[in-house]
Symmetry: none
Subunit: 233 residues, 2 copies
Amino acid sequence: MEEQKKKILLVEDDPNFGIILKDYLMMNDYDVVHAKNGMEGFEKFKKDDYDLCILDVMMPYKDGFTLAKEIREKNTDVPIVFLTAKTMKEDVLKGYKVGADDYLNKPFDSEVLLMKIKAIMQRKATETISDSKQFEFKIGRFDLNSKLRFLKFDGGDPVKLSPKENELLRLLALHENDLMPRELALTKIWRDDNYFTSRSMDVYIAKLRKYLKLDEKVEILNIHGEGFRLVVN
Amino acid sequence: MEEQKKKILLVEDDPNFGIILKDYLMMNDYDVVHAKNGMEGFEKFKKDDYDLCILDVMMPYKDGFTLAKEIREKNTDVPIVFLTAKTMKEDVLKGYKVGADDYLNKPFDSEVLLMKIKAIMQRKATETISDSKQFEFKIGRFDLNSKLRFLKFDGGDPVKLSPKENELLRLLALHENDLMPRELALTKIWRDDNYFTSRSMDVYIAKLRKYLKLDEKVEILNIHGEGFRLVVN
DNA sequence: AAGCCCTTTTAACCTTACATTAACAAAAAT
DNA sequence: ATTTTTGTTAATGTAAGGTTAAAAGGGCTT
């Protein structure tokens, strides 16, 4: 069994601090890629798979939140930790809204950071036992590739899916023939559960149904008040 | 619609602060049980299932860490958040070691706490893909799936059941051939026992009888003044 | 900055699903 | 006999979901 080092994307514009942090993490057995601003961070993120992203909030060109949002569009699961300059409540709240897993106030203690990282990785480890490579699905005569965000019918031309369409169909596929609770999709994809996000989700269900009706054996059923069910007859 | 509130165990020895925090959380739609020390906290924990534990670190009799360890022995999954008096690095590290999900330094901002709770619950949401076997019943020639809320006759087309129909039939099935007391259904399903809910229940019994008459071996009998009995001959 | 494309949200309107209540009939208990 | 409980059907009001279209937002190009 080959032990794979965990890969961390560190986006931090202060060069001194960035290097120090990077070295410290590498000394502790992480594989660290350091980007010096939001732009570069996103480029690097697209090129590889990371187990964790550590983002500075204050950065030129593209701040940490904007970057986080972009990262979230491509990947709803990767843990994100923010580094905020001080205890700025605004920042913290904003961070959680874009789906942060945690945040740290600068200056912070490096051991604390390490523990946080460990805790987060551990959390992921328990979750990610089964769904590690769950990006490709066969749904009746369709093939869904949720990494590349397309849907093919009978091996024909792929139709591109928007991020939300993709995530929603992926969640449904993960629960094929079973209940996919409304609340699950709303918390996982929309990160909020209110009247409007709920209506938004219904709109997406309608869109997916449109795509899926090419195969009349495939349908999305509603379970009133509970959620939806993707069935393949 | 019947909404299931998330249940929080709050263990905090400062009575004023505890009450205030409890009220604040309840205002935000959580179901909160407040324990005043570690001992009491553990007692309450054993008696019920919680979605989250919020533990003060400094407490008489039994501190938060000891309590957390005990809780972890019984339940490896429930998220734990610590409240630490100040930025005590020792505490934070120790907290993560016993498997905390997060910590908050007192005094903390209540909105921040709320966001943390939300984030933690979101994380949990994915894991909770519960197993189905306890939701399936065989009733004569019928199959009841009370998770997906349908009833099949001889493996034919499933008939959809409404939430109340479903819950009622499930309760009857749990007591198959035995008395299912009126009061039980009223308190469990209707959460209230009065003339009108009682009449409402009778209406649902009539609906269920209609579904079930496809199999003349299955019937719902009334036990006057007591309740109903689902019998399979 | 203006315009365009893509995605997402919001709004509107309509349909379906559900639970409750009323009304009256039938059984059972007193 | 009459009061209470149960059986059943139908009517009503409300909430949830289906669908389409318009508005809003963001990035990118010119």
